[in-house]
Each structure stands twice: as structure tokens, then as C-alpha cells.
């Protein structure tokens, strides 16, 4: 092991005590391993000292999963090799093997010269693939392509005692709700999987479990609690020959929801929503900050927006779908003049900038408010509901926000019935008021069969919601499962529960 692999925390490491949740933790030491052998060495060394370990990638998560609760920080950003792209004869697809610290941007750059495509698209493209795997990241195109889970065929992990595992999709299945695995060192880990049923909506809350499940899926979305992922094999598919996108502006929220319903039969790969407060926030921030000057201008008449994207084999096929969407939008008060339409990568840029600018603007405003009220943070919801509850959930958000007078924006993945409400508190009083409102929504959404965390994960911030979803019994079963892999809770204490 290199002599300086484990370093004491100094003032130069302050950034590593936090992530995009803007919560701060503490740690005694940090390492930046460059290989699986170094990861094993660090884990054994730290564990022998009785310390805990927090795994980090790019620290782009927003539920504090990478914020250390004391102990050691295992930062994987320098373990970022990207292998060669190889054909997979059995599936007709291609594969690429990557180390966990490779970022989505780096993987996309590697793939760019080919005609291949890796669909997962979290908004933050500086995220590492290790982080994306650990929280089963999603994005706008999850609506059609599914989350990161669907695009992982194999992974390697180092367990809390330094043993290693290779999990290949299709090779290790549970028997009902009982699993058994053997590490490469010959240790058998076996036991019951939690008995809860996951909500039948997009969810990233707690361990993924199902009858006779493939055990690789237990490790995708485990938030670092079962092991440290050291290698991931990804599926690559042919890049669609034609990609077209639309941002349709509509006169009100009702029209937007009706358009979403119409879009569901048209083969969209993404359906995104932006409410009038989100559009107003962009109008405001564009005049306030030069960082936002490239966001396209928004007419005063624009009230609510729906973004949708189509992938296909030819421009003509997609154009037919676009025209059908426009026909529906026109009947709902939209117009072809007030619809942005992009058919090239360059034309897509302003549409993406518009989407990305909303959370960025919220973060900027919160950072400004923290100067006078350091304790406040953004309150961002991440809940998904069943298809027939979409209108109910949006009405619930609108009613609560209107009654409270809190500043907010609503945007996100409406195709998956998954909206982000971002509350922007101006004071501690509003912060507490927002937290209470958020909890009341979570209670109702869980009661309606939804998920309290659809894509951000649980981390250290949303643990109460996991309790809400699965109760004491579910948490106890998850805790027991974790103990099978990590009896001393060395890895990522505080994540999930």
C-alpha cells in the first residue's frame, strides 16, 4: 500500500466533508485509492482500528449519502478507468467495463465517437457511475429506458471484511425471499430478504427486493451499505438515428396534465413538467445573474411547460409523432409558434439549459439566503405516485403551498408521476413550516401507495420517510440484511437507517 494512501483530514479536505445536500459532517482521515487492491487495504486497515467508512464519488448526491459521520472517507474519484467497448454476441449489444469513479461525462465522451448509447441521464452529468449505481440514479429518460439498474450487467464489490464478490446478471437468484452468495474467498453469506412489497411506482427508497430476484439488483441502490462497488459493466445500445425534442408552453396546469395523458401513447422517451412558479423563477434569475443569461427568453404569456423527447429510426417517423402531440397541445391552448422544437444537438442545448437552470436557480437563491440564515436548506421533494393519483398529488402540492404562502417551484418527471417540489424558505420559521408540510405530503403519498423517494435515495436526510414506507418491521428486516454483509456497520453508517 502506498505510504500516504490514508491521510489525516486537514483544512484542504473541507470539500470532502459535504455533498450537494449542503450538509456538513466530520471525518478523521481520507483516502483516494486507485485500485481494488488499495480499496481492500484501506477497508481492512480502517476496520482494524474500529473506525467507520463513508464512500464517496463526485459528491453530487442531495440526500447526504456521501457526508461522513466521523471515521474515514473512502473517495473513489481517482479510481476512474474506463475499459474498451466490446460487442456482446449473445445479446447483440455492446458492453463497457468502468471503475466507480468514472463520471457520466467521461463515459459519454468515451462512447461519443461510436454509434452507441448509454441511456441513464441524471441531470448532474458530473456524477460518478459508482454513485449512480449505489443510488440507482434516474433522469428524464427513465420514463422510457428505466433507471441505471436496467443498464448494469455485472459488478464487483468489496465487502466490509475485505472479501470480494462478482455479481453477474442472470447468475445468482434468490429462492423466494432467501438468498445465498459465496465470496471469492469462499465465505458464504445467506439469509432472508425483507418481506415488504415495494410500491408499484418509480422508487429509490430502501433495498430493492422481490421474489426470486437477481441478487445483483440488491447491490444496485444499496447506498453503500452492503459493500464498496469497484467495477461495473454497462450495457450499451445503438444510438437512435433521430432524436427530437419539444418544449410546449401551455396556458395553465390543467392543460399541461391533459397533454401528459395524451403524450403517454405517443412513444415519448421523456415527459417533464415545469409549473408557472418555475418559469417565473427563471424569468427573475435571468435578469439577476449573468450565469443564467443563456437561458432562452420566456414570453410573458408562457404559464406552464411540458418537455418531451422522441427517439427513433427516422426523422419522418418522429415528425409524425410530433405533429400528433402538437394537435393535442393546440386543442389545449398551446400553439406551434409557442413550442420550442429541436432536431439537432445544438438546438437541444437551450432546451436542456432551461431544464437544468431551475434547480441551479433554487440552489443559488438558497445559498444567498443562507448568508443571513445559515440553518436553512432547500426542501426538495422526490415522491412518485401511481398513475391514477397524478392529479391528486399535484392538487395536494398546490393546495398546501397556496395555504402556506411558501415560495416554491414544481418541476420534474411527470411522465413517471414523479414531481419535485422545491420549497425555498426565507426564514427558520418558514423552514420548519416547509418541513411539516413535506412530512404531511409524504404520509399521504405513502398511504396512496406511492414512494417517498423516487430517485434521490434515502441517504441520511430521508430516513424518516423509509420508516414511513416500511414501518418498524421493514426497517428491522433491512437492518438484519445489512448485518449479514457488514456486522459492525462499518460501511456508510447513517445511510438508510
Amino acid at each position: 500500500m502506498p505510504e500516504n494512501l490514508i491521510q489525516n483530514i486537514t483544512n484542504n479536505h473541507t470539500d470532502y466533508l459535504s455533498d450537494e445536500s449542503r450538509r456538513f459532517g466530520t471525518a478523521r482521515s481520507i483516502s483516494f485509492p486507485k485500485s481494488e487492491a488499495e480499496v481492500i487495504q484501506v477497508i481492512k486497515d480502517i476496520r482494524s482500528q474500529g473506525e467507520t467508512i463513508t464512500t464517496q464519488g463526485a459528491r453530487t448526491g442531495i440526500v447526504a449519502g456521501a457526508v461522513p459521520f466521523g471515521g474515514h472517507i473512502l473517495n473513489l474519484s481517482q479510481m476512474n478507468a474506463i475499459g474498451e467497448i466490446t460487442p456482446d454476441e449473445a445479446s447483440g449489444e455492446h458492453r463497457i467495463t468502468v471503475e466507480p469513479g468514472a463520471t457520466l461525462d467521461e463515459i459519454r465522451a468515451k462512447i461519443a465517437p461510436t454509434s452507441l448509447f448509454f441511456p441513464p441521464d441524471p441531470t448532474e452529468t458530473t456524477a460518478t457511475i459508482g454513485g449512480m449505481t449505489a443510488c440507482n440514479a434516474s433522469g428524464a429518460k427513465t420514463y422510457f429506458y428505466g433507471s441505471t439498474r436496467n443498464w448494469i450487467t455485472s459488478l464487483r464489490a468489496v465487502l466490509a471484511d475485505g472479501d470480494t464478490l462478482t455479481l453477474k446478471r442472470g447468475e445468482n437468484f434468490a429462492q423466494g425471499r432467501h438468498f445465498s452468495l459465496t465470496t471469492e474467498q469462499g465465505q458464504t453469506i445467506a439469509g432472508p430478504l425483507p418481506s415488504y412489497e415495494q410500491p408499484k411506482v418509480k422508487t429509490a427508497a430502501g433495498y430493492y427486493v422481490a421474489d426470486n430476484m437477481d441478487i445483483i439488483d440488491l447491490f444496485i441502490g444499496m447506498e453503500g451499505t452492503l459493500g464498496v462497488i469497484t467495477e461495473i459493466e454497462l450495457r450499451l445500445i445503438p444510438r437512435p438515428k433521430s432524436i427530437q425534442a419539444l418544449t410546449v408552453f401551455l396556458p395553465n396546469e390543467d392543460s399541461a396534465i391533459k397533454l401528459v395523458r395524451a403524450l403517454r401513447g405517443e412513444g415519448s422517451v421523456a415527459i417533464e413538467f415545469f409549473n408557472s412558479d418555475a418559469l417565473d423563477l427563471l424569468r427573475h434569475i435571468k435578469t439577476e445573474s449573468s450565469a443564467f443569461e443563456n437561458i432562452p427568453a420566456l414570453k410573458d404569456s408562457f404559464n406552464t411547460a411540458i418537455y418531451t423527447e422522441f427517439h427513433g429510426e427516422s426523422d419522418d417517423d418522429l415528425e409524425a409523432a410530433v405533429m400528433r402531440v402538437m394537435e393535442a397541445a393546440t386543442a389545449l391552448g398551446g400553439s406551434d409558434e409557442d413550442t420550442w422544437y429541436a432536431t439537432t444537438d445544438r438546438e437541444m442545448e437551450p432546451l436542456k439549459a432551461f431544464r437544468h437552470a431551475i434547480p441551479e436557480a433554487v440552489n443559488l437563491i438558497i445559498a444567498e439566503r443562507k448568508k443571513t440564515c445559515p440553518e436553512i436548506t432547500k426542501l426538495g421533494t422526490d415522491m412518485a405516485v401511481l398513475d391514477d393519483q397524478l392529479e391528486t398529488s399535484l392538487a395536494m402540492y398546490d393546495h398546501g403551498l397556496q395555504q402556506s404562502g411558501l415560495q416554491s417551484v414544481i418541476f420534474g418527471h411527470i411522465g413517471n408521476n414523479h414531481l419535485h417540489v422545491n420549497i425555498l424558505p426565507r426564514s427558520m420559521e418558514e423552514y420548519e413550516q416547509g418541513k411539516a408540510l413535506y412530512l404531511s405530503w409524504a404520509q399521504l403519498i405513502v398511504a396512496l401507495g406511492g414512494s417517498a423517494s423516487a430517485e434521490h435515495g434515502i441517504g441520511k436526510i430521508k430516513a424518516p420517510f423509509l420508516q414511513l414506507m416500511y414501518g418498524d418491521k421493514g426497517i428491522a428486516q433491512m437492518r438484519a440484511l445489512r448485518k449479514l454483509f457488514d456486522p459492525k456497520t462499518t460501511l456508510n453508517p447513517g445511510n438508510l437507517f
Binding site: N11, N12, L246, P296, A297, V322, M326, S335, D336, E337, D338, T339, W340, Y341, A342, T343, R346, E347, P350, L351
Partner: protein
Amino acid sequence: MKICCCIKQVPGTTEVKINPETNTLVREGVETQINPFDLYALEEAVRVKERMTAAGDPSTVTVISMGPPQAEDALREAISLGADDAILLSDRAFAGSDTWCTSYVLAMAVKKLQPELVICGMQAIDGDTGQVGPGIAIHANYAQASYVAEIQEIDAKKLAAKRLIEEGYEFCEVKLPAVLTVVKEINEPRTPSLRGKMAAKKAEIIKWGAAEIEAPAEKVGLLGSPTQVVKIMTPPCREGGEKYEGETSIIVEKLFDVLSCMEVV
């Protein structure tokens, strides 16, 4: 009012290569775009059209570009952004034109179309000369105002413009017909709409060669260009500076010493 907007198709990247034998840009296989400054010209032309039409003077925007056949893509994009029709000035005889000659060719098209107003971007991002707009005005015998930051008033006979100059702004009145070159602050270009893109797809791009604009062979292309590019070279890469790493207090002290030695502080 009849309005013309002149645009240029330029490389979509700053990673351009020069053919060392011909001293010209290698355009094959390079992504292209409308010269970004021309997007402001186009937006202003469309806004003047909307303004004049609303005031009871039905107006049109014709977009013109001199270039190879693939410049048709740029013209279609201009239609998606609000132009009504487009003319491509393309002829083998135009090859090798310098800024004098390019402005002559564009001016001959302007003379044929006889618009009241011609709007150009302040310069192209590949050549950076800023000469073509004013050159069109001279060749076409139009009035001109360059670096326009705002069209404050406009009617059928004249316009009031606010020009960006080094010391601040200059306010001037310009008789029509006139050529304006515009700066970035004049407006914010719109995003292509579905209506615009569909119109662009269906549009017929008019193609004019030297014969259609009655430009004699000796006045276009290399023959008509008083300037020639003798040599183009890529400047050597700048060497990286010195990087200090370590404890903040120590490196700040080190930097201060270095700056003191250089008598900067």
C-alpha cells in the same frame, strides 16, 4: 417594408484546421452554424418586421448568404427563426472572394431586391473583420450605421439608432435605405419554434449565381479580390504557468515573493 438580413455559415467549433497548401479553412466534416452575431441581426430583422407589420406596413424578411451549397442549411435555420424566404448566392466563380468582393456580391443581390433595410451581424467569428456589412452599404450606395445596439424608432423613411462606441453610445438618425450592423446587446435571439422549423423544411431556397445578380467575372472571386491570404499559421501553444500546491498560507507567501520580485506588488 422589405428587410434583408445577411448571414454567414461558420464552423460550429473553435477547433478549426487550416489547409496548409491553400491557406483556407478545412470545412469538410466540420459541424457548422449560423455566425452567432448574425443571429442577433436576424432577430432584429424579424422584430422590425413584426413592429412594422403591427403598425400597418406589411413587412418581410429575406435572408441572404453567400457560400457553398451546404450554406442552404444555415438559410433554412434562419427561416425557422422567423425569416420569410432565403436566397443562396453560390457560384464557383465566387470562390476565393475576400471581404471587398463578398460585400460586392451581397450588394449586387441587395440592389436586385431593393430592400429598405439590410441588417448584418457586426462581424463573423471566423474572419473577425467586421468589413462586410459596411462594404455592402458602400457597394449598394446605402446609408449605414455600424455597431447598432438599439433601433429606437423606425418608419418607412428613416430610423433612429443607438450605436455602441468605445466611449459609450452615440445616437444617430439614418435615412433609408440603409445597412445596419448590430452588436450582441441589441436583443436576445429566439429559440426555433415548431412553426418556424416546419416552414423551414418546406421552404424553397432561391439560388442565384453571378449571372442572376449581373456580377461580371472580373469583379468576383479571386479575380475581383484585391487582397489575398499569403500564409496562415497556427500560433504556438502558450506554455503553462507555474502551479503552487500545498498549505494556503505557504503558497500565498511564495506567490507574494514572486510577485514582489516582478515588482507587480
